[in-house]
Structures are given as C-alpha cells and as structure tokens.
Symmetry: C2
Subunit: 227 residues, 2 copies
C-alpha cells in the first residue's frame, strides 16, 4: 500500500507541454477571436490555435511559431496569460498548456489555414461556439485580461491601424469594456495622456464633417490610467 503510493509519486513524469494563443482583433465593430477548426481528433470543433512546445525553443517562441504555422499571423506582441494545468483538460493525454494572448490590427486578414486544420476564422466573442478542451475557460480569462489591460496601458494601439479617428478609438474601448463612454470626457482624458497626436490628414466618410486622423506617439508599452 505504502509502496504503491511511493512508486506512484516517483513515477516518471509523463506530461506534455503546449501553448495556446488567444488572439483578438476588432472586425466590423465586433471583438473577435482567432479560431481554427479541427480535423482529426475532435473533428469539426473549433479551438484556439495551439500546439506542443519543441525541445529547443522557449515558451514565447513556441507561441509565435505555432501562431504563424497555423494561421499565418506573425509580428504580434504575444503576452503570457496563464498556465492551465487541470489533469483532464485534454481528454486524450496529460497536457499542460500555457496560454498567450495578443491584439492585432483589423487589417490582419491574411489568415490562412494550414494543412493540419480545416479552417481558420475570426469569430466574434459574443458568438463563440463551445470550444475544444478548456479553451472556453482560456478565452474567458483572456477577455478579462484584455479589458484590464487596455484600461491601464496604451496596449490598445495594436488593435488599430496606424491612423485612426478619436471616434474609432473610443469605439474600441466601448466594445471591449462593454459600456458607453462620454465623448467629451474620453477625448479630454486621452489627449491629456499625451500618447496620441493629430496628423495633418482627415478622414472623410459620409455626409458630415471630416474627422481628424491621429497616430500613437509611441507603441512602447506604457502604464497609464485610461478609464
């Protein structure tokens, strides 16, 4: 009895290590997550793009490599989110997964399926299908982190094109935080922070006054109180 317990504790570790990426963008005024559709096991299910870590790469580079291989998305700033270690999170094997998340600008539409999956798509977070493994949990966690993050950093820059109007910017905040924001207060605050500045260009769209286009002064990560 005692022996078997000791034996169990000292059994050779047989755990696989994976990363999963939760990538957000804003598309058609909606917050979307990048999902892949699975082929073999769990066929037809949607999941976050993820995979096993190679022996000779860091976690960060594994996340980057897997994202690129599975979806063709590259050059994004991936940030580690959390490591999910429940014993049964993967029904086929013991796999622990470190989740990463990132924000990409809306133009990132050059997503491509790899041979390993049957589809890649941006899915609105409000219409997420049930995801494979514990990816629902990961996505929920990531969404919360996103809301926190844009509230106290300038991270929102990576969800916008290089030039944008103040209304565009405000909409991003409203979509992610899920609430309406007062236009005058928002502008006052964001301009006072000195993280964006106007360009000489304007955006003409429809029968109304053209909007001034702004750009971010710096895309270096910066802590600021925004909302």
């Amino acid at each position: 009895m005692k022996d078997s317990k000791i034996k169990k504790e000292h059994a050779k570790q047989n755990i696989k290590l994976a990363v999963d990426n939760c990538i957000f963008t804003i598309k058609d005024g909606k917050l979307c997550v990048l999902l892949i559709k699975m082929k073999d096991k769990l066929q037809g299910h949607w999941a976050l793009p993820g995979g096993l870590v190679n022996n000779n790469e860091t976690l960060d580079s594994a996340a980057k490599r897997i994202l690129k291989t599975q979806t063709s998305v590259s050059d994004v700033y991936l940030e580690q989110l959390y490591t999910f270690g429940d014993v049964k999170r993967d029904p086929f094997a013991r796999v622990i997964s470190t989740a990463y998340f990132a924000l990409v600008p809306p133009k990132t539409n050059n997503i491509k399926t790899s041979a390993k999956y049957s589809d890649v798509r941006w899915i609105p977070v409000k219409k997420l299908p049930g995801l494979a493994y514990d990816h629902d949990k990961i996505a929920k966690y990531a969404k919360q982190r996103l809301a926190d993050k844009i509230s106290y950093t300038n991270a929102v820059w990576s969800l916008l094109p290089t030039k944008f109007t103040l209304t565009d910017l405000q909409k991003v905040y409203e979509i992610i935080l899920g609430k309406v924001i007062d236009k005058r207060n928002f502008r006052k605050k964001i301009l006072a922070l000195d993280i964006i500045h106007p360009t000489s260009e304007t955006k003409i769209k429809g029968a109304h006054r053209p909007a001034k286009l702004y750009e971010f002064s710096s895309t270096k990560p910066k802590i600021v109180e925004i909302v």
Copy 2:
C-alpha cells in the same frame, strides 16, 4: 538539411514540468522569502522550494504538495505567477517551471527541512544571495506582483496575525511599497474601506499610549483601491 530540421521539429517532446514557490512573510520588520539550501546538484546554493509536477495532480496541487513537503508550510493561498520557459534556465535538463507565490503571517515559524535539502530559512529580500536556476528572476517578478497586489486588494491580511494595530498594518505597506506613508491619510483611507474593524483589546508595548487592536472583517479576496 531540410530533413534534419523537420526531424528536429517532430522529435518527441522531452521537457520536464516543475513548479517553484515564492513565499513571502514579514519578519522583524523585513520582507522575507522562504528559501531552501540545496544538497546534491548545485550544493550549497539557495533556491525557491520547487519540484516536478506529478502525472496525476494539477499544477495548483503540485505547488501545495511541494511547499508542504519541502518546508512544512501548509494552508496558504497560493496564486499562480508566471511560467518561465527559457531553454537554459536549468543547466541540467530542459525544465519549464510555473511559479506560484503566497503570503503567510509572521507566526509561520514552524518551517522544517526535509531530508532532501540541508536547510530552510526566511531570508530578507534585501539580502538575497544569488539563487540557483533563474530563481532570482522569479523572486523579482514575485516581489513586483506582491506590491501590485496589496495596492488593489485586501491580500495584505495574510501577512498579519489576526489582531494587529494600525501602525503594524501601515508598516507592512511601507515595507512592501518601499516608501513612507502619511499616518492620518492612511488611517482615513483604510478605515473608510471597511475591511477592518477595531476589537475591544489594546496592545501595550513600551512607555507610551496603548494601541487599539484591529481585525479584518473578511479574508475573502476583495478588490479595493488602497494606495
């Protein structure tokens, strides 16, 4: 050439998964970290208590088990910190480690070395020796998280005995944040938050007015703006 690369990528994953715990307390007015002194490999070096995850346990329970086994510390709320995945962080093998951190009250002095290590001790963070592996990095990260955490939650309760004076409480904040705080403003703010309440007891210590003893109204995690 191309073949060897593909082979490498598809090589069987051979990575071990560990947890490391960064446990804080306040001792003699100093912020301290719980360290173990190593016996075999890296003999004589200090390190955070850590070890490999078992096949049939979650990450959280691994952290708890390892902390108890190596130091006899139990019943603490461990929170996941970050997962460190550099390729060379462990010079002997490829080991990825998920770090946890926790705060314990100063009375936790019943720490005991296990046979596997030669010592366990509370070491002031200001006097940390160079630690084994990448544990310096982990400890630094944990210290930052601690400062953040006590600033916007009631987590500080787990660093104090059940009854404490307002001066005790203020000292904890000053030690962790590394700055002096105005006594009147601090008291006003902390009392307005309604997370502590006075008891009928006082603490008499030395030739001066006795201090009222307080307790926490709740030890449930709670988000509050403190400093």
